[in-house]
């Protein structure tokens, strides 16, 4: 027995060592300086570095970035790692720096790991914009955020109010009970309901832990314990898809409205079969578009990333840099039957 145990320990130790090796490899900062001034001016070249390639979400932001570059006459390039690991973007940032690209737009896989590489780019005056996912503020000039919490909360409340005729019982199906962003949205939605929708009663908040099965069970329980339920808000992509799948085959289909945050690809089926009328999410295409314009504004010296700077982002109109150098895209996009086929992410 002790013999087997010892072998068992050996295997366990080997496995542990193996996984440690895996997580330890890489992480060199790269020490290749580079000199000269950044691009800027008329023929601005913009390099997008998404979290990973082959990700429909970033394919969409690429489309937006390209469109923007086309409008202001810049060159657009998208490079990036195939996998979204913390340090996989470092070599791409270094290469872009050496090539003295006009501006960098990065969706950070890690707030810290790519910091020194970005700093080197900024040392030679290449403007650095982060989008979708930020680094620590000291490593970039401007962060282009998807949407602010108020906008996200209000969009969902407006959608459910519209779908249930502004009266009746609603419930919220969230992710984990301790998810910071979810809880912030829920608080804001509660306040919004109380203030602007007196006839809507929030009867329950349940947590599906971003797990399909748990979200299923919670949806079923919501329907069973609240026979008069008129609508469900699920501000999480896993939750809304699970709830939609449950509703689509349940007696409550068409009776109980569902909305929240979801991606068009995962919700297409349920929009088509009529389970869900409309839902919201920020539009990654617009995110890429705005990021490219932000990069251009920085490169041209129109803005410096200070709070209060304003610039115009093509069709999207005027934007203002907020505190900590954050630019907010604006209200989420609403997806319904009429526009869902225009999106693929």
């Amino acid at each position: 027995m002790s013999h087997t145990t010892k072998r068992g320990l050996t295997v366990l130790a080997t496995l542990t060592a193996f996984s440690l090796t895996l997580s330890a490899c890489g992480s060199d900062g790269g020490s290749d300086g580079g000199s000269g001034s950044g691009g800027g001016g008329e023929d601005l070249s913009i390099t997008f570095i998404p979290k990973n390639l082959g990700n429909p979400y970033f394919d969409a932001s690429q489309v937006g970035g390209e469109a923007a570059a086309g409008e202001f006459g810049g060159e657009f390039e998208q490079v990036g790692p195939t996998e979204a690991t913390p340090d996989s973007q470092v070599s791409f940032i270094n290469t872009a720096t050496q090539q003295q690209t006009g501006a960098l737009v990065v969706s950070a896989n890690d707030p810290e790991a790519i910091g020194s590489a970005l700093q080197q780019a900024r040392d030679i005056d290449i403007p650095v914009v982060t989008m979708d996912s930020d680094t620590n503020p000291e490593y970039r000039d401007v962060f282009v955020a998807q949407a602010d919490a108020e906008g996200i909360a209000q969009a969902q409340v407006d959608l459910i109010a519209e779908q249930i005729g502004d009266e009746g019982q609603v419930a919220i199906l969230s992710a984990a009970a301790n998810a910071t962003n979810q809880n912030e949205w829920i608080d804001l939605m509660e306040a919004d309901l109380e203030e602007n929708h007196p006839d809507i009663e929030l009867v329950d908040v349940v947590y599906g832990d971003d797990d399909d099965q748990k979200s299923f069970d919670e949806t079923a329980a919501l329907l069973q314990s609240n026979p008069d339920l008129a609508g469900i808000i699920s501000p999480t992509t896993v939750g809304i898809a699970a709830a939609a799948r449950y509703l689509s085959t349940s007696d409550a289909k068409g009776e109980v409205a569902l909305t929240g945050l979801g991606t068009p690809n995962q919700m297409r089926e349920y929009i088509e079969d009529g389970t869900v009328e409309s839902f919201a999410l920020w539009n990654p295409e617009e995110l890429g578009y705005l990021s490219a314009y932000t990069a251009q504004a920085l490169a041209n010296g129109d803005i410096t990333g200070e709070e209060g700077d304003t610039f115009t982002a093509g069709d999207l109109g005027e934007y203002e840099v907020g505190a900590d150098g954050v630019v907010v895209l604006g209200d989420p996009t609403v997806f319904d039957e009429s526009n869902i086929d225009d999106f693929d992410f």
């Binding site: 007696d251 690809n265 089926e269």
Partner: protein
């Protein structure tokens, strides 16, 4: 525990046919007990909210929701009965579900072929576990803990942040996941068939009885000349294949596959088996008991939100149930042990 087991002798006869008919009835009582607990829970929940059972959705979910866990628990019971454990089933489930999704997306193979491929892939992954356990002679707990991470790692590498959506999956499979035949959901029928075949095999076949023999006393089984390696391989391959089947059921039921599929479900499968009276040290218990355990676990998961028990307590309740089952197991085993001792003194 092990004292409840039939002797490791030829063991081709079902326990009921052995002289200790009281032992057989005790075994039976073990499953009856868990069944009563299930019925009691359903009764209480239904009394509080009749829609839990007496609504179309409620009645359907009663059978539909546990199907996946039942299939996993049956495989898990077969492995645990040999005094091993298979912790990798959650990762196998996820990997085969994603494999099936990719096949639908990339190849357009007919549903039945994809199902067979997924089950086959599960069997191969299970066979890898079995070979490592049988030939490397490392405890299954360690081996399958390793493959849990290895399989999950392969899955993460393969799927990344990709997700397969309901619109990518054939309508035939999706509607199979929720439709019913004569009022019984089709997924539940699949799980019943799996359960019936496994129960029959475990009870009557030589191979099935030898799984009990190996679990009761591995050394004695080897000395007796049982093909223990082959049997253990069979048990793990069966568990893997059933996890593959469960992966397909998952696709049919949930319609969305991301890299988190099946995460942590292996512990629910082990929990279902243990609650259902399968002794964690092997040699005793039945797949039927494990299936009832799975029903109890999922019904509790579904019922607690309806009873209004806060989320934070739901897992604690499940944990208490597992502890209770193990304590009960221990008490029953002790009592049986004393009884057997008393009988020996009398004779």
């Amino acid at each position: 525990m092990t004292t409840l087991a039939p002797e490791p002798a030829p063991a081709t006869k079902p326990p009921a046919a052995r002289p200790q008919s009281r032992l057989a009835s005790l075994l039976k009582a073990r499953e009856t007990g868990i069944l009563l607990a299930l019925v009691a829970f359903l009764a209480v929940t239904t009394a509080i909210n009749p829609r839990f059972v007496f609504s179309t959705d409620g009645f359907r979910d009663l059978f539909l929701t546990p199907s996946i866990l039942v299939v996993l628990a049956v495989g898990q019971a077969m492995v645990i009965i040999t005094r091993n454990v298979d912790l990798s089933v959650g990762s196998i489930l996820g990997l085969t579900a994603y494999l099936a999704g990719r096949l639908f997306l990339d190849t357009g193979l007919p549903i039945l072929v994809v199902v067979l491929l997924a089950v086959l892939a599960g069997a191969v992954l299970g066979l890898v576990n079995g070979m490592l356990v049988a030939f490397a002679r490392v405890p299954a707990l360690v081996i399958t803990l390793g493959t849990l991470y290895v399989y999950r790692g392969i899955y993460l590498q393969w799927a990344g942040s990709d997700r397969i959506n309901a619109s990518d999956i054939p309508d035939g499979l999706l509607s199979f996941g929720t439709s019913s035949l004569l009022g019984i959901p089709q997924l539940a029928i699949v799980s019943f068939v799996v359960l019936a075949v496994a129960a029959y095999w475990m009870r009557t076949s030589r191979g099935g009885r030898e799984l009990y023999a190996i679990g009761s006393d591995p050394a004695a089984a080897t000395l007796y000349g049982l093909k223990d390696k082959q049997r253990i391989l069979t048990a793990f391959a069966a568990s893997g294949a059933l996890a593959g089947l469960a992966g397909i059921l998952y696709v049919a039921r949930y319609g969305t596959i991301s890299s988190g599929v099946g995460f942590g479900i292996e512990l629910e499968a082990v929990g279902a088996a243990v609650i259902g009276g399968v002794a964690i040290f092997g040699g005793s218990g039945t797949v039927v008991g494990a299936a009832i355990g799975a029903y109890l676990l999922t019904s509790i998961d579904r019922g607690l939100p309806i009873l209004g028990i806060p989320d934070f307590w739901q897992r604690a309740v499940v944990g208490l149930l597992i502890l209770g089952a193990i304590v009960l197991d221990k008490v029953l085993a002790e009592r049986q042990h004393k009884k057997l001792l008393a009988e020996r003194h009398r004779s």
